[in-house]
Structure formats: structure tokens, C-alpha cells
């Protein structure tokens, strides 16, 4: 395959190894009239997909081969005069064309280098935007978390508000109840209270047993505990033997509470119990009630 036949494939580099030296078999010169058009179309077809670097190297190889062929041809023509007239001119034209194409490709490569710089700047900008978006996304997630917590707490408060509204108690009832429990000196002792005064600031046995604690004491295990007999608890009062009798109690009350065989002068004195201990206990209860009332 000669040099001119290689030109059809638009790459002298690939065909260079099979090139015959100048003076070998050559194509007829008449076939070269349509070469420029063919090479242009082939270049267009190949240039669409090929990278600029490959095209540059290919064209540079072509220039190198054409230069060598031209120089060898001229050298042989000076010595042997074997070349057909005009062939060196055609090779020279091809060389000029390839050289021009090489320069154009170099210009394209320089422009591509500028575009490459612009692309690098754009890539940096994209990375910066990505970091900004990620930071913003992180902040939005934190805000979402805070808002979700606030909404949950608000819903809980709304639930408690609805619950309070459903079980609402009027203020009048509260005031009435406050009057009732304060009128009986159950929460606060009178100002002129003295030991022995029946207007005590603590619940009575009857009130205690009618409360929750009293109902708990009614359970079957209470008898086992040995505090009080069950029948006495259900009666709402202490057994007669444990009922204290104070001198300020009226005879009517004591008669109503005590069995008939107990007289008005019945005084319970448990073992170890004396008048001084009783006074101490009453003083302590008064102090506690006064302190609790102060706290209120």
C-alpha cells in the first residue's frame, strides 16, 4: 500500500508501518483528484466522535509522515529522477493542508483549554453550592426537630386542657367546700385554742375512717394486723375501752358514745399514759396544725 492509498483512511500513523519507501509501488496520479473531498468528509465523520487529543496526534503523525515522504522523494528525485512529475507537488499540497489542519486543531485545543478552566470554576461553584445546600438542609432539619417537639408539647397541653374542662368544678363549690372544712377547724386550729379544746385541727376518727385510708383499713388483712377490730372500724368509732374521755366533753356526747355501764367519770388510762403525756401530744398536734396553717 502506498502513501496515497493510506490517505483514504485519514491516518498515516496506523498505516505507516506498511509504507513502502519512496520509489516503491505507487497509485496512479489520476486517483488523487478526488482526495481532498473524500478526506474532508471522512474528517467530519471521524471528528464528531474523536477527542481533540487523538485528532491532534493523528494529524501530527500525518504531517510527520508526509514531511518524511516529501523529503525522501525530493532526495531520490535529485539522484534517480524516477518520480512522476507532479507527485511531489501533490504531497506538498497534502502536507500544507495537514499543517493547516494541525494549526486549526491547536487553536481548538487552546479554546478547549479555556473552556476547561471555566468548567473547573463551575465545578468549584457547584461544590460550594452543594455545601451551602447541605448546611441549609441541616439547619432545616434542626428547626423541624424543634418544631416537632413544640407541637408535641402543645398537643399534650391541649389534651390536659380538654381533660380539665370536662371535669371542671365550679369555683362556688370550691369555696363552699373550703368554708365547710375550715368551719370545722379541720385544717386550722382556732386562734384561742388550748390543749383540751375539742375544736381540733385534725380529722376525727370518724372522718379518718370515712376517708380512703379508712376504707383501705377495711380490707380483710386488717384484722390480722391487729390494730383495730373490724366491727369497731365499721361502727366508725373507737371501742369503748379506747375512746378517750375528756373533762370538757359534755355528758350528752359521752353518754351517746359510751355504753350505759360507763359513767361520766370514766377516764381511760392506758398503760403508761398520764396527763402530762396527753398534754404533750395535744401541744404537738397544735403546733403542727399551726405550722401547716401558716404554710397555707
Amino acid at each position: 500500500m502506498g502513501l496515497l492509498a493510506c490517505y483514504y483512511c485519514c491516518s498515516f500513523l496506523s498505516c505507516r508501518v506498511v509504507h513502502s519507501p519512496v520509489g516503491g509501488s505507487k497509485e496512479p496520479s489520476g486517483n488523487m483528484t478526488s482526495l481532498p473531498a473524500l478526506t474532508a468528509s471522512a474528517k467530519m465523520a471521524a471528528g464528531v466522535e474523536k477527542a481533540t487529543k487523538d485528532r491532534l496526534l493523528s494529524v501530527l503523525g500525518d504531517v510527520e509522515v508526509l514531511s518524511r515522504e516529501l523529503i525522501e522523494m525530493l532526495a531520490l528525485s535529485r539522484n534517480q529522477k524516477l518520480l512522476q512529475p507532479g507527485e511531489d507537488v501533490q504531497i506538498l499540497e497534502l502536507l500544507v493542508q495537514r499543517d493547516r489542519e494541525f494549526q486549526q486543531l491547536m487553536d481548538v485545543a487552546q479554546q478547549q483549554g479555556k473552556v476547561h478552566q471555566e468548567m473547573q470554576q463551575l465545578e468549584k461553584e457547584v461544590e460550594k453550592r452543594d455545601s451551602d445546600i447541605q448546611q441549609l438542609q441541616k439547619q432545616l432539619k434542626e428547626a423541624e426537630h424543634i418544631l416537632a417537639t413544640a407541637v408535641y408539647q402543645a398537643k399534650e397541653k391541649l389534651k390536659s386542657i380538654d381533660k380539665a374542662r370536662k371535669g371542671s368544678v365550679s369555683s362556688e363549690e370550691i369555696i363552699k367546700y373550703a368554708h365547710r372544712i375550715s368551719a370545722s377547724n379541720a385544717v386550722c386550729a382556732p386562734l384561742n385554742w388550748l390543749p383540751g379544746d375539742p375544736r381540733r385541727p385534725y380529722p376525727t376518727d370518724l372522718e379518718m375512717r370515712s376517708g380512703i385510708l379508712g376504707h383501705m383499713a377495711n380490707m380483710p388483712t386488717n384484722g390480722v394486723n391487729g390494730h383495730l377490730p373490724g366491727d369497731a372500724l365499721t361502727a366508725g368509732r373507737l371501742p369503748d375501752v379506747l375512746t378517750p374521755h375528756y373533762p370538757w366533753q359534755s355528758s350528752d356526747v359521752s353518754v351517746g358514745l359510751l355504753p350505759p355501764h360507763h359513767g361520766n367519770d370514766f377516764v381511760l388510762e392506758p398503760p403508761g399514759h398520764n396527763k402530762e403525756n396527753e398534754d404533750d401530744v395535744e401541744a404537738m398536734s397544735t403546733d403542727s396544725s399551726s405550722s401547716s396553717s401558716d404554710s397555707d
Binding site: L60, D107, L122, V126, I133
Partner: protein, 99 residues
């Protein structure tokens, strides 16, 4: 601008190998002994061009592909800018300042 253009033209002229080929032919016509030196120059010039091509950035693809990549990058930047603007223009809460 004119300086840059002149520089580009000079670089473009520097890429041409025809002056060296012309010098070789002239030496051959004159039967000068410098033809080998000129041939070495041409060979060195071609080798230098190959190295320059290998080191040039951004020519690993065709201009068309590069333009497509450039358009894609520009589109990415535009989209991300729009997204950031959208985030920044969201309804902000007016936090009362503690007086």
C-alpha cells in the same frame, strides 16, 4: 486584547512545521551539510508538539462533548442557585426581640 490576539497568532504560527520543512528543502537544494541538523530540528519539534499535546488540559473529549458538559455544569449551577434562593425566600418567623 490585541496583545493577546497577537500572542495567539504567534503561538499558532509556532505550531506550524512547514518552515522547518522549507529549511530542509532549501538545504537539500544547496547541498548543504546542515540538512541533518534541520532534520533533527524537525524531529525535535514534532516530539515537542507531541508532549505539548499530551499536557494540554481539556482536550480529552471533542469540542461538542465539552460544550455539552459545560452546559450541564451551567445548568447545575443555575438549578442549585434557584434552590438556594427558594430556601432563603421561605417564610421566616418574626422572632420578637427581647426589649
Amino acid at each position: 486584547m490585541a496583545v493577546a490576539q497577537l500572542k495567539a497568532e504567534k503561538e499558532s504560527d509556532d505550531c506550524s512545521l512547514l518552515p522547518l520543512v522549507h529549511d530542509i528543502i532549501k538545504c537539500m537544494d544547496k547541498d548543504s551539510q546542515d540538512v541533518h541538523q534541520e532534520l533533527a530540528k524537525l524531529k525535535a519539534k514534532i516530539q515537542e508538539a507531541r508532549e505539548q499535546i499530551s499536557n494540554m488540559p481539556g482536550i480529552d473529549c471533542s469540542p461538542l462533548d465539552q460544550q455539552q458538559q459545560l452546559a450541564t455544569l451551567r445548568e447545575q449551577v443555575r438549578t442549585k442557585n434557584q434552590l438556594l434562593q427558594k430556601y432563603k425566600s421561605l417564610c421566616m418567623f418574626d422572632v420578637p426581640k427581647a426589649s
